[in-house]
Every structure is written in structure tokens, then in C-alpha cells.
Symmetry: C2
């Protein structure tokens, strides 16, 4: 039973394609690690990389990524709307197959130690890896960003977990940690009125009274010309996709706004889709066929959850079968 970990490092370059290509080329030397996707965002000036592979190979690959980013990126020259404190800003490890959160915590510590030692970069452990409660939150650690960390890191409260209490002059600092799998799920609204997306976000998210495992906010997609409710689902078993989708559709009715489509960013486990398809089939007096192949599942997902740009490659299990 091979162990498989997901790692989703974010690095601070989202515009310069040549630079991005040079950084991404480090993965050519790591056959065991699969690059599921990398998504540069020019406004954010940041690239999110989704990797899966066996734990030890993953640590080696991530170390090389940090090395390449250190060479290519100087945060003194970096501007973007997303907050950041490092050339590689954050490295989360996520349990996928035959391993639990505890092993991912160990993995993050091993990685953090090696980054500090190899590159002289201070490392903060965050999320499940944090030693203290107040250091769980990445936004709290990162507050002040690259520019502010120069002083902040000298405070006892904000000493790094590994490395010296001095940020690297061009790289900054990096957060490494373990977290449970989350689904990044966005629902499209057929309007450009951001206030509607804001109201719907408030209804659905925990922080303003909604579902326990939902983080949500409004976003305007300039290229597509409409707004979205953009979400993280922190526990898809307790807050399944179909329920979120149906509540948003129900609430959108009062604004006479259509909900034409939705999207999954990054990966989703097969059982998260199955649970939702099961709901829609139940409503039609059909029962979910557990032997349904991935293509049929994708067909149903497009039909019922209206997921656009969705194919098999978004499903974790599609990659596990191949590897």
C-alpha cells in the first residue's frame, strides 16, 4: 500500500512565463512526483502548484522548488494583490492515500528543517503543524508580509520554528504545514453585481452564521464578466457540494439570478462527487451505482452539479490508478 501525499506549494511569480517555466522545470528531475496542475495568476502575481506523489520523493522535489525560487525571485521587486512573505510563500502537505494528518505533520517538519539548513531561510510551521494555537493561522503569521517580517520575526512571539530570526534578504520566509484535504469550489452567478455574491457568501459561510465547514467570499471574474461565490469546503462529508449548490440556487432566486455553472479548482476526491450524485439520483428515484466508471461519474457531475471545465484529471483517484 503505497503512501501518497498531496503538496500545494505557492510561489510568488505569476506573470513572467519564462521564469515560471524555469522554476517548474525542477520537477523534470522528480519522476515519482506528478504535477497535477500549476496555475499562474497575473493579478495575484503568484502560482499555485498541485503535486501528488510518495512522501520522500515529495520532500526532495519541494526542496528543489525552494532552491529554484530562491534563484529566480527577489521579493524586493515583487508586487501582487495576494499577501506574501516568501518567494515560496506556503507549502501545505495533505494526506491522500494510506497516510494520516500526523504523518503529514512529520513530513512538514522534516521539510522545514531541511529548507532552513540548506538555504538559510527561516521556516514557520503552520496549520496542524503549528506548535502553538496562535500560530495555526497562516494569515496571522504572514501579517505584515515580506516588508513587515523584517522586524516582526525578531519578536519572541514570532520567532521562526527553524532557522535564524532574520528573513532571507531576497526570499523572505516560508510557512510549511499539514492540513486536511479541502475542496476549492466556486459557484458562478449570472450577474456582475458583486453585492449579490457577497450576500450569498454570508449566508453560506460559517463566520457569518452559515455551514460549519464553509469559508466563502465574493469574487468578480473580469475576463468572464460575472461574479462568483468562491469557497473552501473544509469537510466535504459534513457539508457536501450538492447542499451548498442547492442553497445558493435557492437564495439566488430572490435576486432572479441564474446559477449557470460552478467549478472545482485543483483536485477533488471521488467520494465527494459520489455523495452529491447520489443525492440527485435519489431525487429521481434512481440509485447510485457504485461501479459507475469515472467517465460516467464525470458525465453526471457535469449534468447535476453544472461543473464547467471538469474532467477526470480533477479526480484524485484518476491519478492514483495511473501511478
Amino acid at each position: 500500500m503505497e503512501k501518497i501525499v498531496e503538496c500545494v506549494p505557492n510561489f510568488s511569480e505569476g506573470k513572467d512565463k519564462e521564469k515560471i517555466n524555469r522554476i517548474m522545470s525542477v520537477f523534470d528531475n522528480h519522476d515519482q512526483v506528478k504535477v497535477i496542475s500549476y496555475e499562474p495568476d497575473a493579478d495575484y502575481n503568484r502560482t499555485v502548484v498541485t503535486l501528488i506523489g510518495p512522501p520522500d520523493a515529495m520532500v526532495d522535489a519541494v526542496l528543489d522548488l525552494v532552491g529554484a525560487a530562491k534563484k529566480e525571485i527577489d521579493l524586493n521587486q515583487h508586487e501582487g494583490i495576494h499577501p506574501r512573505m516568501g518567494a515560496v510563500d506556503v507549502i501545505p502537505f495533505v494526506p491522500v492515500e494510506n497516510m494520516g494528518i500526523k504523518e503529514c505533520v512529520d513530513l512538514s517538519k522534516k521539510t522545514g528543517k531541511r529548507i532552513a539548513k540548506t538555504y538559510d531561510i527561516p521556516v514557520f510551521l503552520y496549520a496542524e503543524s503549528a506548535g502553538k494555537r496562535y500560530r495555526k493561522s497562516l494569515p496571522k503569521i504572514r501579517k505584515g508580509e515580506f516588508e513587515g517580517m523584517k522586524e516582526k520575526i525578531k519578536e519572541d512571539k514570532w520567532a521562526p520554528d527553524y532557522g535564524e530570526a532574520t528573513i532571507h534578504p531576497t526570499f523572505g520566509a516560508v510557512a510549511v504545514g499539514a492540513r486536511e484535504f479541502l475542496i476549492a469550489y466556486n459557484i458562478d452567478l449570472d450577474t456582475d453585481d458583486k453585492s449579490i455574491a457577497k450576500n450569498l457568501s454570508r449566508i453560506i459561510r460559517k463566520s457569518s452564521g452559515g455551514f460549519q465547514y464553509i469559508q466563502a467570499g465574493p469574487a468578480y471574474l473580469e475576463e468572464r464578466g460575472h461574479v462568483q461565490v468562491t469557497m473552501n469546503i473544509l469537510n466535504y462529508k459534513k457539508n457536501p457540494i450538492y447542499r451548498i449548490f442547492e442553497v445558493i440556487k435557492m437564495e439566488a432566486k430572490r435576486y432572479s439570478v441564474d446559477v449557470p455553472s460552478a467549478e472545482i479548482v485543483g483536485l477533488i476526491p471521488k467520494d465527494a462527487l459520489e455523495e452529491s450524485i447520489d443525492y440527485y439520483l435519489d431525487r429521481e428515484y434512481l440509485s447510485y451505482d457504485k461501479e459507475m466508471d469515472l467517465d460516467t461519474l464525470v458525465f453526471n457531475v457535469r449534468e447535476h452539479l453544472r461543473l464547467r471545465d471538469f474532467d477526470k484529471d480533477k479526480i484524485i483517484e484518476a491519478h492514483l490508478d495511473e501511478s
Copy 2:
């Protein structure tokens, strides 16, 4: 601007109608306090009284209620399925008009002091009136019930806030406190399968991943022959009734179970109904008329929220206009 408080004392007799009538007759001497309803439950062997009125008159009326219950009820002879530690078990004060929770805390303390002094009954402050966090929860205070309180009350941790650390031999002890207004809301399901009500409760309630301000559980109504999702809505502005109703309808579809009706137990503020009717009218491209009279509101409420046994008297404002 007259101040109006709601008080919902629960006393431990739900079977003997003559006894109940004698106890309830104390309110004949308190003109300013209005008895909105009293609901004896034989299985619980407990009666819930809903009162509204001005604060000072309310304290006097509640003192008399405690006196009558002390005369009529001997907890050594009491059996019922609802946990209880006192002949009057709990006395919550709820802000309704021109007053806030802080004034209700003061009122509960004043009442508690007088109960201890007048009747030699130990008093526990609970909910917002509790001095310490662990004493906020009534179930925690009451754990062990009348029988167990004899010893428990002697522990330092469970010393009463007023009176001696000895329960009254026939009355027991009483909890007095202040809490925010809550709506008791039950949704009927056209099935006698309690497991369906249980699943729907889990979806909706905070404790298992649902909405932040919802407490919920399943109940089987023997006389009516169907199950309910029985709920408290702790904040109806953040978790409005229509949303709960629509989510339950949506989830019930997978079981092919109809949702024919629902009910409000006790009182509901007008704006809680308005918010929900507004949603349904919006969907029909109509706008909510703020001048809508209570009869028209009730008509709409029956139509859209399918509330059974609902009339104007359930709306707090109907009583405020009269008083």
C-alpha cells in the same frame, strides 16, 4: 417607551389539571402580566408558561408562582421524562421591547435573591446571568436532578448563587437567568420513520456541521402519527426560518418525503416572519409591503411557511399593541 420582558418559567406538574389551575391562578392577581400561553405536557410532567409584561410586575408575578408551586408540588413524588431539579425548574428572562440582555441579567439576579430569601430555596444563576462559564449550561447545573442535587449542591463547584447549600426538601432548587430570544420551530415530515428526522436534524444543526444558530433533534409525535425535526433558532436574523424550511424540503426530497406543515411553539417576533415572507415574495417578483397588517402577514405565513395552528396571538407585537 415601556419596557417589556418575556419570562418562560417551567414548573414540574403536567398531569394534574386541578393543581395546574391552582398554580396558574396566581396570575389573576397580576394584571400587568399577560399569560400568553401555558402548555402542560403529561409525558414530561411539566408545564411551560409564557408571560410578557413590564419588568417589576414580572418579578412579583414570578415570586408568587414559586410560592404556589412550593405549596402544590413535592418533587419526591414527581416522575416525568424531562430532567428537573425544582418544583419550578427554570425561570428565563428574555428581552422583548426597550430593554437589553443586561437588564434581564439584573432582573434575574433580583428575582433569584428574593426567591432565596422569601422561600428558603437555593437559586442557581444560569445562561447570561451565570458568574462562571461552566455554570452557563442549565443541563450541566441540573445534572443529577432533584435526587442528585442533595449531595451535589454541597460541592464548592456547585454552591448556589443565592441561599444555603442545601436543597429545599420538597421544592429542590431553581435556575434563574437571562437569555436572548429564541424561536422554537418544528418541521413536520410525512413519515413515521424517525431515522429520517434524525438525518435531517444532523444536516441542519450546528453541532454536526449545519447552520451556526440551529439546535435540532428528531421527535415522534404519537398522537399525530408522524415525525418532526424539532429546533431552536438562536438567532433568526442570521438563520431565518425560510432558509431552514427550504433546506429541509430540499433534503427531504431524497427520501421522497413530503413536508406538509411546520409549527412555531410559543412566541415569534414580527420581523422574523417578515424576513421570511420577503424571501418568498421576492421570488415571485413581488415586494414586501411594510405596511402589511398582521392578518395579511399571518395569511402569507400560512401560505408560504405552511405554519399550522398559527394565528396572530403567536406574534409578540400583537400583544404589545394591546398592552
